[in-house]
């Protein structure tokens, strides 16, 4: 059986190379060709926000979803976008995988018509700027590029202004000073070449997360043999761990590279981290209020516990 798999990332992204492509190849091999994939990267089959619909409509059999694009159908899953939780891709991925095994996050996917196979996260968002940003006073009234409401709230909680600018224009906007800073996952920095235009990059902040979840349409998944299902999930777990480790390693390499380029890659002091974390609790409260779901508090608690391990 050939499954059409949609993906909004390009095949050159680390998430694709070490995650999606690796998992597809592993499944094809483990099932002896019983399952094969037709991969549609770079939003070829459907736009980022339309991937879930595409699976439900039968355009696709499977898709790598960016949970943030589906906050409407998967509100609880947007918890991963909150700042101040996981500190590395490995830690965040472990927490996500646990929550996808059973509980409200998994149920939400099933109710949306898809079965989660595995999930992983990007390393936590850091702040990139032309000066070192630490205490909230440094952030006062700065124009910070954010994407989505949680990040905009994060910027506001620190006294800055959250600015929406399309991805392709971020480079020019920073270079020209339209933006003072940007919250960005470090693994994606090379893609947008932001290291060419900033001079300071934080390395131990946690300004939000980002989760990817590989899903199969419920009816597609249910139609598979138990062996295949088990293999997909087992290999998915391996892939999740692998892509998380690969990203963390890649970030470490990038940091060394950037240092060699003369960029100040810095760690927040404990005092800064504490102050920032306190300022950002408002974001969690705001999130819980907005999604207005009676399981929000429970999920926050579970997520907090899992990412403190």
């Amino acid at each position: 059986e050939t499954l059409r798999l949609g993906d909004f990332q390009s095949t050159s992204h680390i998430v694709s190379v070490e995650g999606t492509a690796k998992w597809m190849a592993a499944v094809e091999e483990a099932t002896g060709g019983e399952i094969s994939f037709e991969h549609f990267p770079s939003q070829q089959a459907a736009k980022s926000a339309a991937q879930l619909d595409a699976v439900n409509n039968g355009i696709l059999d499977a898709a790598l979803l960016g949970a943030i694009y589906h906050a409407e159908s998967l509100p609880l899953n947007s918890v991963v976008g909150l700042p101040g939780f996981y500190g590395s891709a490995v830690q965040g991925t472990k927490a996500l995988q646990t929550m996808l095994e059973e509980g409200p996050l998994r149920d939400e996917f099933l109710a949306a018509g898809v079965t989660p196979i595995f999930g992983f996260v990007l390393p936590p968002y850091q702040v990139l700027a032309k000066k070192r940003l630490g205490m909230p006073a440094d952030w006062d009234a700065l124009d910070v590029r954010t994407s989505g409401s949680t990040q905009a709230m994060t910027a506001r909680a620190l006294g800055a202004v959250g600015i929406s600018i399309p991805g392709p224009e971020v480079y020019t906007a920073i270079e020209r000073g339209r933006l003072d800073a940007v919250l960005f996952p470090l693994a994606s920095v090379p893609g947008y070449k932001l290291n060419e235009v900033v001079s300071h990059i934080s390395t131990n902040g946690s300004f939000g997360g980002y989760s990817f979840v590989m899903v199969l349409g419920n009816s597609v998944f249910d139609g598979l043999s138990d062996d295949v299902k088990a293999e997909m999930i087992r290999l998915g777990g391996e892939t999740a761990t692998h892509v998380a480790q690969a990203q963390d390693a890649s970030v470490s390499d990038l940091i060394v590279e950037w240092q060699a380029e003369g960029i100040d890659t810095y760690e927040f002091t404990d005092a800064e981290l504490d102050t920032i974390r306190d300022a950002l609790t408002a974001v969690n409260t705001d999130w819980a209020e907005r999604i207005n779901n009676d399981q929000a508090a429970e999920i926050l608690e579970t997520y907090r516990k899992l990412t403190s391990e």
């Binding site: 095949t11 619909d53 039968g58 399309p166 392709p168 906007a173 020209r176 339209r178 070449k193 060419e196």
Partner: protein
């Protein structure tokens, strides 16, 4: 494969029978999807394709720059500026068309989208060329072709998307685009000169009188100020390129109000004209997205490029085939759709053959830009036709000699990578 040929045939038939291009592409794409995936999935593509296509901040530059040009034209600002240019170079045959190319280069430093630039020039420069007895064929062709400069000269949406898809330095790509952009402009001027001297499409203007020229020059001032202000806003970090388009609208409104040359009726007509062109463009983009979606599901491009990668042809032959594939895709698809469909495959092949990523980016950009000038889907020609009322047939005919020059420039870029790479290497040394 048979279905694919049938769909292409259907598209050709619909277009030949003068169905609007957008409608024909949407229909053919839809039928293709239904044949490929089934009726229900095909229908579901229609749920949100128009919304997803139009709900994009990057697109605001299109209506805004068209509105800017419409306002300046309605307020007589462009005409006066062009008369001023005319007084300097009008005695040269084809001088006004060359001035249009020069203006397109300046506009290109402002705009990152080829269609927006074409629409702006079609609204402003075309009427002047017509007034000075240039043939519609030449005048409309010049604005169509001049528009393509916008994505080669930075800033450029196409180069940014290439940079993001392939992880190539956007800064270097921007610098690398400058010389190829100027080279293209030079080539276009050359074609104009030849046409002006061999046909009567570009008549000579009044003889040169220094005093008149100097006196007339004051009319260039408002335009020059506007351009400086908008470019200044981008480079001074006040606005992103898309936002700068809105500043351009405000600036032109201030100019025409200051000169008391705009009536309320003319303002309404300008807004209405900008909407008209935008609706036409977005409808084509949305409908060609349906077609591109079908194309993606056929996996034709993938198979072709994968096949190329596995053959043991020489690097030059492989590069030639890839450029050819991109040119053919350009006949049917939007530039950004081509990039996202082809780059994941073409880029690794090019890298495996040891080509330079920055150079490849400029070549690819230049190649997909040529697609904007060729039927059936030649967006720049469409925009020019919509804005000027000149029949498409005439425009495509007028574009032909320029297309020859575009191909020559592309060949030069292919054969002499140094043209592209000199500046970025020099500047980062």
């Amino acid at each position: 494969m048979l279905t694919f040929i049938a769909i292409l045939f259907l598209l050709a038939i619909l277009m030949a029978f003068r169905m609007p291009i957008a409608f024909a592409m949407g229909l053919a794409g839809f039928v293709g999807l239904a044949a490929q995936l089934g009726m229900r999935p095909a229908l579901s593509v229609l749920e949100r394709v128009f919304f997803d296509t139009s709900s994009s901040f990057i697109l605001v530059a299109i209506p805004l720059f068209i509105l800017m040009a419409e306002l300046l034209t309605a307020g007589d600002v462009t005409r006066r500026a062009i008369i001023a240019c005319q007084s300097w170079i009008g005695h040269v045959k084809g001088g006004l068309a060359m001035a249009t190319v020069a203006a397109s280069v300046i506009l290109a430093a402002l705009v990152g989208s080829s269609t927006a630039s074409t629409a702006a020039m079609a609204a402003s420069a075309f009427p002047e060329m017509r007034n000075h007895n240039y043939s519609d064929r030449l005048a409309a062709a010049v604005v169509s072709v001049g528009g393509t400069l916008a994505v080669v000269v930075p800033p450029s949406i196409v180069l940014v998307v290439y940079g993001v898809l392939t992880e190539t330095s956007i800064g270097k790509l921007f610098i690398a685009g400058i010389i190829p952009g100027l080279l293209t402009a030079l080539g276009l001027a050359l074609v104009i000169k030849v046409i002006a001297h061999t046909t009567d499409q570009a008549p000579k203007g009044a003889p040169f009188v220094l005093k008149t020229a100097v006196v007339q020059s004051r009319h260039v001032l408002p335009m020059a100020l506007l351009i400086v202000a908008v470019i200044g806003a981008i480079y001074g970090g006040i606005a992103s390129p898309s936002e700068a388009a809105a500043l351009g609208v405000m600036g032109s409104l201030i100019i025409v109000l200051f000169q008391r040359s705009l009536s309320f009726g003319a303002f309404n007509r300008s807004v209405s004209g900008a909407i008209r062109a935008t609706v036409m463009i977005v409808t084509i983009v949305a409908c060609s997205a349906i077609f591109a979606n079908y194309l993606a599901f056929t996996r034709i491009t993938q198979n072709l490029l994968e096949f190329v990668a596995t053959t043991d042809l020489s690097p030059t032959t492989i590069m030639a085939i890839m450029v050819l594939v991109l040119l053919i895709m350009g006949m049917f698809m939007d530039q950004l759709a081509i990039l996202s469909l082809a780059m994941p495959l073409a880029f690794p092949i090019a890298m495996a053959l040891d080509y330079n990523p920055v150079w490849f980016g400029i070549v690819v950009t230049k190649t997909v830009e040529i697609g904007l000038l060729t039927p059936p889907l030649g967006l720049n020609a469409y925009v020019a036709a919509a804005q000027t009322g000149v029949p498409l047939k005439t425009i495509f005919r007028g574009i032909l000699p320029f297309l020859g020059m575009e191909i020559i420039v592309l060949l030069l870029l292919l054969c002499f990578p140094q043209i592209t790479l000199f500046l970025p290497e020099f500047m980062t040394r």
